[in-house]
Symmetry: C2
Subunit: 119 residues, 2 copies
Amino acid sequence: MVKNAPVCKSRSVGEYVDEVVSSLPSDEHIIELAEFLEAFGDSSRIKILLALSNHELCTCDISAITGLSVSAVSHQLRVLRDKKLVKYRREGRNIFYSLDDEHVADILSIASQHIEEEG
Amino acid sequence: MVKNAPVCKSRSVGEYVDEVVSSLPSDEHIIELAEFLEAFGDSSRIKILLALSNHELCTCDISAITGLSVSAVSHQLRVLRDKKLVKYRREGRNIFYSLDDEHVADILSIASQHIEEEG
DNA sequence: ACCATATTTGAACAATTGTTCAAACATAGT
DNA sequence: ACTATGTTTGAACAATTGTTCAAATATGGT
């Protein structure tokens, strides 16, 4: 009837289920978390973010640095803007992008550490 | 000829391009970084990871906690295993999963902070 | 008003994703 | 050997993704 209804018949397991359920944040928060972290999940965007950890950069310089087309960079910057990983300011014809805050750099750095340790 | 060839004609911009390029890690490292962080980028997987920050859990309890089907959980656990976000151990019929290391919990926690600050 | 530069946008496309379902495999108890 | 429980697997499907291309928008200089 209830399709997803589990499951463990063993009762030594499963005693903490209610406790864990009530420790979880709201679905809304979980979705925001996933959407924020999803924005890190593409090598073009990672390359852009790593470039921005060194310097504030305009769109066309990011294109030159990453080897991506200007259009591809702009599309990815939109994702990074929408998901609040980067901020920007206009200066004449150029728009300069930078990391939104330290959290973004921290996540990149922790992820780097993790990869180096795992081999 | 070269399709992606940029780009900025203004020379005040772009002087640091070479410097930033040489500061970037290898493409291989960038891809590993993206693949690791991509594994955080789905609300089902985030829910699983948050549950695991509280308790070591077996597959069917994760299913009960998250409301996902056992099969869906197992598929996602495979992603999390492959990308080294979780580890596991067998105990009889059950397989207990837990976060691979502190890095994973740290990333979840920093991302949570980020979201709360941005509103 | 016009032109060049810088950037964004929208449609199109192949490629990838997450879930479901049914079937398989693994372990433990009888 | 058989059965029940726990978990994984593979095929299928709709939905989403990232890039390209062509066209649009924005700013500044003449």
